[in-house]
Symmetry: C2
Subunit: 187 residues, 2 copies
DNA sequence: TTGATATTTTGATATATATCAAATCAGGTT
DNA sequence: AACCTGATTTGATATATATCAAAATATCAA
């Protein structure tokens, strides 16, 4: 719980009452490898936080699995459109390793945000941070070569190569497995 | 002011006190064509709203201007990273037509969000909407062909072709002017 | 250890889009 | 109307990456 609290307070600190209410709303799961956190076409109810392990967020495009995000370290993750629009998700979420994951339910988060201004502010800052990340990722996809995207990934998450099969990394980078393999052999 | 109020209330309604404080914080400008709303390297202080006219948000990449967004209709627009991180913008914003633009200053918006829970909620919902748009745009760039992106643009903003020079539309779609021209001649 | 399966690499070819260059076309100004 | 400048189209070629196919390698269970 300590890592979660640290991550939350790093975004926006909470006063004691709010802290108690908010931190108390998180559930904790210890999950085996390949556990399904969200299945396509379900409405996504949780914002998650990776305490340890890895989660992979992906969807299907012409029978192929496209990895949209890989969450590790002390990262938050969610199906953005499904969680906020309360619509069926086109995303699935699986663990790639045994993992300890925290989650807070949409209903709980929203009613706390309703009740406590500070929680609303926290939520706003979380969404803002996510928006900024999304902008950076968009620029990267649009204007960097596959090689540059791979280099950027290595800089940001050096250990990802050891822990995540290349096929997932490839589609996360927006290239085919074959292209990623050639990129790697050319450095 | 009516269109702005409508747009705001469409996102999240405000009670009378909050409405008065929030709506009163917006400034209004009547601008000629090619007016500079934000110059590269400045910190962006405003969230803007297009009442009428068009604004173009762009930046420079190897001497070339890349159009990142075109705001028309009743749309909000801003330099996301600069506004929220209070950092120098890599974006510039110009009007493409004579325009009536509303704007609210960062300081005012933030202090209102601090004072009024309802304004904080409104801001959170605005950022959430922007995040959802950003996700959709990212998918479009990554997985649709230039032709499909053009078709999508026509569906979303049919009048944009009449009002915005193709060179700007091309870079907004992430293709060269020549490619856009060929796409158009092939339908 | 031996299979059986999943993952990664290598090779040949195809394709969408970029780049460079030149030719038209359009809109405003004198 | 004639001009000028900027916008758009057309053509020839180059390039990054995808696709399809097969081989090589790693992983895991019996």
């Amino acid at each position: 719980m300590d890592a979660l609290k640290k991550a939350v307070f790093g975004i926006s600190p909470l006063s004691p009452i709010e802290e108690k209410a908010f931190m108390g709303a998180w559930k904790c799961w210890d999950l085996e490898k390949d556990h399904v956190l969200l299945r396509e076409k379900m409405v996504s109810d949780y914002i998650y936080f990776v305490d340890k392990g890895i989660a992979r967020i992906f969807y299907h495009k012409n029978d192929k699995e496209i990895t949209e995000w890989i969450a590790m370290d002390q990262q938050f993750f969610l199906s953005i459109t499904s969680f906020f629009q309360r619509s069926p998700s086109h995303l699935s979420i699986h663990t790639l390793e045994p993992a300890r994951i925290y989650g807070i339910h949409h209903t709980d988060f929203m009613s706390l945000a309703d009740r406590y201004h500070e929680v609303e502010r926290l939520l706003r800052k979380m969404v803002t941070g996510s928006l900024i990340l999304s902008q950076i990722r968009m620029d990267s996809i649009q204007f960097e070569t596959a090689y540059q995207r791979y280099e950027r990934l290595l800089r940001t998450y050096p250990e990802i190569i050891q822990r995540v099969p290349l096929m997932y990394i490839a589609s996360f980078l927006g290239v085919t497995l074959e292209t990623l393999s050639r990129i790697r052999s050319s450095r």
